[in-house]
């Protein structure tokens, strides 16, 4: 069913009796061309682009719980393409361009809102670094504007410009960046993939990978054996657990990242504001809640909840840069599991096992990458060659001495 204003009008006259479930709930077939493990944003996007762009229709997405129940439903919804390095920035700008056309493409309201992202700077050295980053963004075809103190003050008068430790000198602004309704991304991709014939199989946990003689021929699941020519792992957060079924160790640690929402407020924050020096970032949801977060807790965890020390740290960051946040009450907070890679950058690659493909290592930045990750993974699966903008995301890049380390902190995942 195609959604449109006309459809809403006619359905209103019929008492909304004609709406149908947005995707089917099929039983798994015994065999597919491609089986995607993981019904999160990236897995569903991969299925969508495989079926829509790359002509693959015998595709299944296997999800342990219900689709979108992982990090695509528990992130802080920010999209941006403000990276520095060659291996990253063209990929994220490709993702931003896909975001811009996404709702028309999959005919679903994902509430893509290009309200802008501000990166604050506090010293001459930091401004120089942001000028350099802005130039890298412009060279990739993205947009970047350097705001001085006066322009930033006009935009965000509530910031603590004269903070003693971190006086605000200005910001790097990406006007095209913004926020997206995260659940709707999963639902929109699921609906689009389903319409193109992809089976989305929920409550189907993969319990084993069928690996023989260096080849993966399918998966064992709680709903039976499913054979496949290609098996695509896409389970960021649990990548190590799934790949361990094939005997592979990854350059990844799983860490917990917490996020927070305040009570609903009238509109106070124009876009997304990031305070990198203290690690705090904030935006305001359409419902009015301030959505904010900061650093990962910093220790291996699969618990999906964090500790108080990080809560305090994030709130101190908020108070440091935006004292008015102290007037808002914290409504809720939660944690999600991140694939923290050894250089802070992701992987979209084949593995040493034929027929087994890997997508993961997204650290705390996977949401913004969803469209490009799905598109590039679909490209790799369909054509067995990496997409042009994802060529650097190889598993062997550490052994080759070619990490993509935006922060320059080395192989220490909790510092990225």
């Amino acid at each position: 069913m195609q959604y449109s204003a006309w459809r809403i009008f006619t359905q209103a006259l019929k008492g909304n009796s004609g709406w149908k479930p947005v995707w089917r709930d099929p039983d798994p077939k015994p065999e597919y061309d491609i089986v995607i493990i993981g019904g999160g944003g990236h897995g569903l996007a991969t299925a969508y682009y495989l079926s829509k762009v790359f002509g693959q229709h015998k595709v299944a997405v296997l999800e342990k719980g219900w689709i979108g129940s992982g990090n695509v439903g528990r992130n802080t919804t920010i999209i941006r393409s403000n990276y520095l390095l060659d291996g990253n920035q063209p990929f994220y700008e490709f993702s931003m361009k896909l975001w811009e056309g996404l709702e028309q493409d999959f005919n679903y309201n994902a509430m893509v809102s290009q309200r802008g992202v501000l990166n604050l700077f506090h010293s001459d050295a930091q401004r120089d670094a942001y000028v350099r980053r802005g130039n890298a963004m412009l060279m990739s075809g993205a947009d970047a504007v350097l705001l001085d103190r006066a322009r930033l003050r006009a935009m965000c008068p509530f910031l603590d410009f004269d903070n003693a430790r971190f006086p605000i000198h200005g910001a790097l602004w990406q006007p095209r960046a913004g926020t997206v309704r995260h659940d709707a991304v999963a639902w929109g991709y699921a609906r689009g993939a389903d319409q193109n014939g992809v089976d989305i199989v929920q409550n189907c946990e993969v319990t084993g990978l069928l690996v023989q003689n260096g080849r993966c021929d399918g998966v064992e699941t709680t709903r039976g054996t499913i054979r496949a020519k290609k098996v695509a792992v896409c389970v960021a957060g649990s990548s190590s657990r799934v790949m361990a079924m094939a005997g592979l160790r990854l350059p990844i640690e799983s860490h917990v990242l917490q996020a927070f929402v305040s009570e609903g407020l009238k509109p106070v924050i124009p876009g997304v504001i990031t305070f990198g020096a203290g690690h705090f970032y904030v935006s305001q949801s359409n419902k009015g809640g301030l959505v904010f977060g900061g650093d990962i807790d910093g220790y291996n965890s699969y618990a999906q909840r964090g500790n108080m020390a990080t809560v305090e740290d994030v709130c101190e960051g908020g108070m440091g840069i935006m004292p008015m946040i102290g007037r808002a009450r914290l409504l809720r907070m939660w944690g999600g599991i991140m694939d923290m890679s050894m250089d802070g950058s992701p992987f979209i690659d084949r593995t040493p096992i034929d027929g087994l493909y890997f997508n993961g290592g997204w650290c705390y930045g996977g949401f913004k990458a969803t469209p490009a990750s799905g598109y590039c993974y679909a490209h790799l699966l369909a054509r067995d060659a990496p997409h042009e903008v994802a060529r650097a995301y190889r598993l062997d890049r550490f052994a080759r001495g070619a990490p993509i380390d935006e922060k320059g902190v080395g192989a220490q995942p909790n510092l990225h």
Partner: protein, 95 residues
């Protein structure tokens, strides 16, 4: 989280810096055959288990000792804390 320091008693985890998997104690021999591959694995690859995990914590805001903490990554429950130097010596390391 509270880490029960073998010398100082229960201490808040916020006093510590987290390093990672305790296998980082076992630095490969740089002069051995295949040292390049061994160092790649040592530096970059991790077991990353869901469940019991032996890991290195550094008591930076305390006595600056390195600890090997056994912790459940699914529950954050800490079941064992040892001095890293005792663990290393038990494995035959000189210091």
């Amino acid at each position: 989280m509270i880490i029960n320091h073998p010398l100082l008693g229960p201490r808040d985890a916020a006093e510590f810096i987290y390093k990672g998997d305790a296998s980082l104690i076992d630095r490969p021999d740089g002069m051995a055959e295949g040292a390049l591959a061994a160092f790649d694995a040592y530096l970059h690859l991790r077991d990353n288990p869901a469940g019991l995990h032996r890991e290195l914590w550094y008591h930076e805001q305390g006595d600056r000792s390195w600890l090997v903490v056994t912790r459940n990554t699914l529950t954050h429950e800490i079941t064992r804390v040892e001095l890293a130097r005792d663990v290393a010596r038990a494995q035959g390391r000189g210091r």
